[in-house]
Symmetry: C2
Subunit: 194 residues, 2 copies
DNA sequence: GTCTATCGATACGAGTACGTTTCGTTGGGG
DNA sequence: CCCCAACGAAACGTACTCGTATCGATAGAC
């Protein structure tokens, strides 16, 4: 078995991870204008040559960095649709309230508008973030709790979008009861008559 | 009356408007990384000195440019709440579908995360964009069409956010019937029993 | 028609990022 | 224990932006 292939990863992997980590720090702190190979290398304590050795372009580096950092919300399904939705959205609102997540989102959203590879990655990360919500709604529909012809993807939009919007666009406060209020408003329109 | 004060505006105003226009073009085309005084002046066919004469910093220029370009949606109120909402959101979705508006939004959203002055401007422009929706909902509540304790601001979030979200975050298509579907979902939760 | 404020153009030195190359160092597999 | 792949540091020339300064040219007020 060629252990040499893994040798390369020994030191290399260490440096690689430092660079990925530094990339997100730079992006969150300085935004796209400051996201430069030099700046990332500097913060990683790495040589520019090392960065260029691993990634052909800043966008390739950014794609890897975002992919490495992504952690899906743990999906639960207690059978109580409202409680589960509120739980997920509360966790999401809390992530949006603290740095660096919203700044990363803003910078990455802008970058995704101008680079097709970043655009695909943005869509893919969003899809992964939505998955727990989709699963909850599908399960509830399976239990007959939702009207039959509900468009689950649209309902997920209605649930998730207001949090992005408040934080990144409207710059307004997100009170603690907002997840509950959003869920109640949306469920009112899709719950099957009981 | 000192016509001299307006003299300065004669030529100056002409150049100033060309620069403001160019600023938005640059921002939409290149994003924040390319939004540089030199680049704006070049596109405006103006001298760097002229730009520096009018604006002390890139953010000041950006604030003026966004403010100058903003045009509110004409607000109508036919008395038919659903139709009026769908009309407004359709116009909004159409703006979001074409360039350069979404690219401007993405770039400005990112910039607003890192510059307090831009953040306030972003919030203010958003508030102005929301106004027609708020007025429609307030009027409908006045007519007794909505449940009494409805949170109008939250309802506006629910109505407007999905369009931003689909275009800028999820990168998914916005079918022609989306405004109607969103309005129906949201109104289902807030309409007064008739 | 003249006068003057503002214009566009151009030049400036300092600073920085680019992408590449070289070189001495070091850590981990064989 | 040795070897070498990958490392960090540094230098390279090019190109760009910065913010300021200086220059005729010109438009518009009087």
């Amino acid at each position: 078995m060629t252990e040499t292939a893994r040798t390369a990863l020994g030191r290399g992997e260490h440096a690689r991870r430092r660079v990925l980590r530094a990339a997100l720090e730079v992006l969150a702190d300085e935004g796209m204008p400051g996201f430069t190979i030099e700046s990332v290398a500097r913060r990683a304590g790495a040589s520019k040559a090392t960065v260029y050795r691993h990634w052909p372009s800043p966008s390739a580096l950014l794609v890897d960095a975002m992919d490495a950092e992504f952690r899906p919300f743990p999906d639960v399904d207690t059978g109580d649709l409202r409680a589960d939705l509120v739980g997920l959205l509360t966790a999401f609102a809390s992530a949006l309230a603290g740095s660096p997540f919203p700044k990363l989102m803003a910078a990455f959203t802008d970058a995704a508008e101008r680079d097709p590879a970043l655009g695909e990655m943005h869509a893919e990360l969003t899809r992964r973030r939505r998955e727990p919500l989709v699963r909850l709604l599908d399960a509830a529909r399976g239990r007959g709790e939702l009207v039959g012809d509900v468009d689950v993807e649209l309902v997920v939009d209605l649930l998730a979008a207001p949090f992005f919007y408040r934080r990144l666009v409207a710059h307004r406060a997100m009170p603690a009861d907002m997840p509950g209020a959003v869920v109640d408003h949306v469920l009112a329109g899709v719950r099957a008559p009981s």
